[in-house]
Amino acid sequence: MRSRFSLSVFAWLVLVWLLLWGSADPLALLGAVIVALAVLLLFPLPTRRLPLLRPLRLARLAGYVLVDLVTSAVRTSREVLQYGGKVRAAVVAVPVLSDVDHVIATSANLVSLTPDTFVLQIDRRGHVFYVYSLGVRTREEADRAHDQALELQVRVVRALGPAEEAADVHERAHARRKSGAASPERAPGR
């Protein structure tokens, strides 16, 4: 259990506690250390190195998710106003582009964060996400939802995934794209 103690997580927990109290006086600091230690010792996590290798791509991923959040919130709102009770949805199978747990978990979480989709089920061995997508009425729209989830995954893998996966993820995603007209993407690699 001791070997799993991670200094960065400890620092993060202390920071969270101080932010919650809104001050850094000695008493709050003492409380922060006690709480952080207690959390780490009582709920040990499989720690791993923090993926701070590619801050630029991470920032770009954050920006993409933010834009995605806004556009799909608007889309969901339109579904509410326009269709209401006659709303339609689809469950789409999307290939998983990574074989690393934390990358898959992050991808699934980000897909679920954007307002009109969430991951219904992950088939870890078969490498498939089943994504529930709101507002899908036709085959083309289902394909678009499929490609959108792929696109998000490409960005996650490139930001957080191991180097060998990040290198060719763009090609692998491209090969599995469904809606024929591929979006004008940047050249693969960088």
Binding site: L69, V91, V92, L110, S112, L113, Y132
Partner: protein, 113 residues
């Protein structure tokens, strides 16, 4: 100061609007997964906007605490959506007429054969 007030007002009001639309979806949508989308998702953006609007008017230390609230929302909302969505699907709380395509069901049928 006026600029700040305007930014704050725009953020707060648009955030409130998204929350309202989410609530409206909760009433209008037909089954659990679609309602779940309405309840959790525009709400997330709504909350983030409201927090941002409040942060504009606050001192830095308090604004950071609001950032923390936003972060937790962003981390926890998808987990909730996945758990509830998965349970709803497996227990048959999905209205079948809502789904135009269900590749998970196709797969499950194929496995059973």
């Amino acid at each position: 100061m006026i600029v700040r007030d305007v930014i704050c007002a725009v953020l707060l009001l648009s955030g409130a609007l998204f929350c309202l639309l989410g609530a409206l979806g909760l009433v209008r949508f037909p089954d659990l997964p679609t309602r779940l989308q309405a309840a959790t998702k525009p709400q997330t953006l709504g909350l983030l906007l409201v927090l941002a609007g409040a942060a504009v008017r606050l001192e830095l230390g308090d604004a950071l605490a609001l950032g923390l609230a936003g972060l937790f929302q962003v981390i926890t909302a998808p987990v909730l959506a996945q758990l509830f969505g998965g349970v709803a699907y497996r227990t048959g709380a999905c209205e079948p007429s809502v789904l135009v395509l269900d590749e998970l069901d196709e797969r499950l049928r194929a496995d059973r054969r």
